[in-house]
Amino acid sequence: MAIGLEHYLFLSGILFAIGAAGLLLRRNIIVVLMCIELMLNGANVALVAASRYNGSLDGQTMAIFVMAVAAAEVAVGLAIIIAVFRIRHTLNIDELSTLKG
């Protein structure tokens, strides 16, 4: 069976869905951030596959921007985690339900 665009889109959808499930189910804030990375990567697969099968490079360019934004997001997110951990001494998001510090 030949592999076409829809296969890659399915893979992308599965990765995104697993990431979303982890985002909602896991309680550790670091793992939640990892699940966000997983979702971004699923989106990247869709962008690159669309770029390949449409013969346009815009998808790949967009994927590069997604990577840059993801790197920035990780840096700021982990800094926030460190700041929160210093104040609250926990990584469980159920215990971090207020913003009062």
Partner: protein
């Protein structure tokens, strides 16, 4: 051949993604995520996006995941993790997984050689031409975003400004 490589990569990346969600230890989640990102890099190679595959390995599987593991080590409570280091099987498992990743990437690169011609889809020059001619404003905004992220991360994580 292409179908076999695709299905193997799809199975491995889905399994790695499930490992991220299901494993109890954040370090195991991080290792699963590294494997998943590697498989996605191989998928990019299959899609003739060699530049993106290289960026994926360098930026994601390299820099971002090192940051994650660093934070996990920094914030885990003492006594949590000492037991499982230096267990004999772990070394062999680690070697096997690393070898498997290299094998996967090699297979997909050999199967899908770099595109011919300077302006073929996925060629680094073609991507650069697209990036630096049509998307210059977005590129400059991304530079601004990265600068803001560096400053913001430093300010937030600093104990006292």
């Amino acid at each position: 051949m292409e179908a076999i490589v695709f299905w193997v990569l799809a199975a491995l990346s889905t399994g790695g993604a499930l490992g991220v969600v299901l494993s109890r230890d954040p370090v195991h989640s991080a290792m699963s995520l590294v494997g998943t990102l590697f498989c996605i890099a191989s998928v990019f190679v299959m899609l003739h996006a060699h530049l993106l595959a290289a960026l994926q390995v360098i930026v994601y599987a390299g820099a971002v995941m090192v940051l994650f593991v660093f934070i996990i080590m920094l914030l885990s409570k003492p006594g949590d993790k000492e037991k499982r280091l230096h267990r004999g099987g772990m070394k062999i498992a680690g070697m096997t997984v690393a070898g498997l990743m290299l094998f996967i990437l090699t297979v997909s690169i050999v199967h899908e050689p770099a595109p011919e011609g300077e302006y073929a889809i996925g060629h680094i020059r073609a991507v650069a031409m697209n990036l630096f001619t049509e998307h210059v404003p977005a590129l400059q905004l991304t530079a601004l975003l990265l600068l803001a992220a560096v400053v913001g991360a430093t300010v937030i994580a600093k104990r006292r400004i």
